[in-house]
């Protein structure tokens, strides 16, 4: 019996210690950041998948909307929404599908698909992609820069250039 009481005491001490340590950790915060970038394809473009890439330089201060404090750690980043639109409503004509991916020059970071729209309904001139529920990209935001890649799946050949503007919402968890 005395042994059991001793175990309970030790357990309680551990629990208190864990509580104190948890209390000392910086509080986790969440911020939703919006990013815009342009994707350009030079025509003529042929039927099938045509990629365009944008180099995104990571600027945490601008993403989080305040100066970055020393020791800040990004713990989780997920794409919450992705929207692509042309200068005119007809820019999406002939595009059958749109796939958004993220890539980095860092060999340890594999490319990930982030969102897809298939088929594209071009009438509105705006494509709202369905984001992946699983893709977690905090490692990319820990880099100085990464690439966003849009693959436009054309259903027919196209003579003209194509330019789409992407608007992306990221949910950033940090502490």
């Amino acid at each position: 019996m005395p042994m059991n009481l001793r175990n309970v005491k030790i357990g309680a001490l551990w629990a208190m210690l864990m509580l104190i340590m948890h209390g000392c950790q910086p509080k986790s915060q969440t911020h939703t950041a919006t990013m815009e970038s342009a994707f350009e394809w030079s025509g003529p473009l042929y039927e099938g998948s045509n990629p365009a890439q944008a180099l995104i330089k990571v600027d945490l201060a601008s993403l989080l909307g305040n100066p970055v404090q020393e020791g800040l750690k990004i713990t989780k980043v997920q794409l919450k929404s992705a929207e692509l639109s042309g200068d005119s409503a007809s820019d999406l004509n002939g595009i059958g599908s749109l796939v958004l991916s993220i890539a980095s020059d860092d060999p340890s970071l594999p490319m990930k698909e982030l969102a897809v729209l298939n088929p594209v309904i071009s009438a509105s001139g705006q494509a709202i992609l369905k984001p992946s529920s699983e893709a977690e990209v905090s490692d990319f935001f820990a880099q100085k820069a990464f690439y966003l890649v849009v693959d436009a799946g054309l259903s027919t050949d196209r003579d003209q250039d194509l330019r789409l503007t992407g608007k992306f919402q990221w949910e950033i968890h940090y502490r």
Partner: protein, 152 residues
């Protein structure tokens, strides 16, 4: 004087030869390739400093049941099962090492939704040994891919 002229001529020829050499050895992987089963064609492109290969042609582009273009039905992420298979990047993240080898990449098998570690070795300008494996390279399988537009 004759020797100097010959030297300058030789130097100019050497400089010309260097000028037409490709800037990046790894770029020899760029192009369209066909796996040994002939069921697909894969175009290798470069994004940043890494190489990626996407499906640009399928022998059977449509799903036999629905009649619609095939999509990545076996993707573990349900939200991405609508990604068209034609255009899908099945080779990802290859980094050129040296001696005609690219590594650090993966190969995706759309038939079962599995991704394997992969290395590529160019045995001649028109032939690739693509080795997919799990864990260590010894436990894997090599497929021979041929370049579609043969380089002489």
């Amino acid at each position: 004087m004759k020797k100097l002229t010959l030297f300058l001529l030789g130097l100019a020829l050497c400089m010309q030869a260097f000028a037409i050499m490709p800037g990046d050895d790894g770029d020899r992987l760029l192009g369209v390739w066909e796996p040994s089963n002939g069921r697909a064609r894969v175009k290798v492109e470069k994004i940043g400093s890494k190489y990626y290969g996407k499906i640009v042609w399928l022998k059977e582009p449509n799903d036999p049941k629905s009649g619609l273009p095939k999509t990545d039905m076996n993707n573990p992420d349900a939200n991405l099962r609508n990604v068209p298979l034609k255009g899908y990047r099945m080779l990802k993240d290859f980094v050129y090492q040296e001696n005609n080898q690219w590594s650090e990449g993966t190969i995706y098998d759309p038939l079962n939704g599995s991704t394997y570690s992969c290395t590529i070795k160019m045995t001649d300008p028109n032939t690739l040994d693509i080795r997919g494996y799990i864990g260590v390279s010894a436990f894997g399988r090599t497929d021979v891919w041929k370049r579609l537009a043969v380089k002489k």
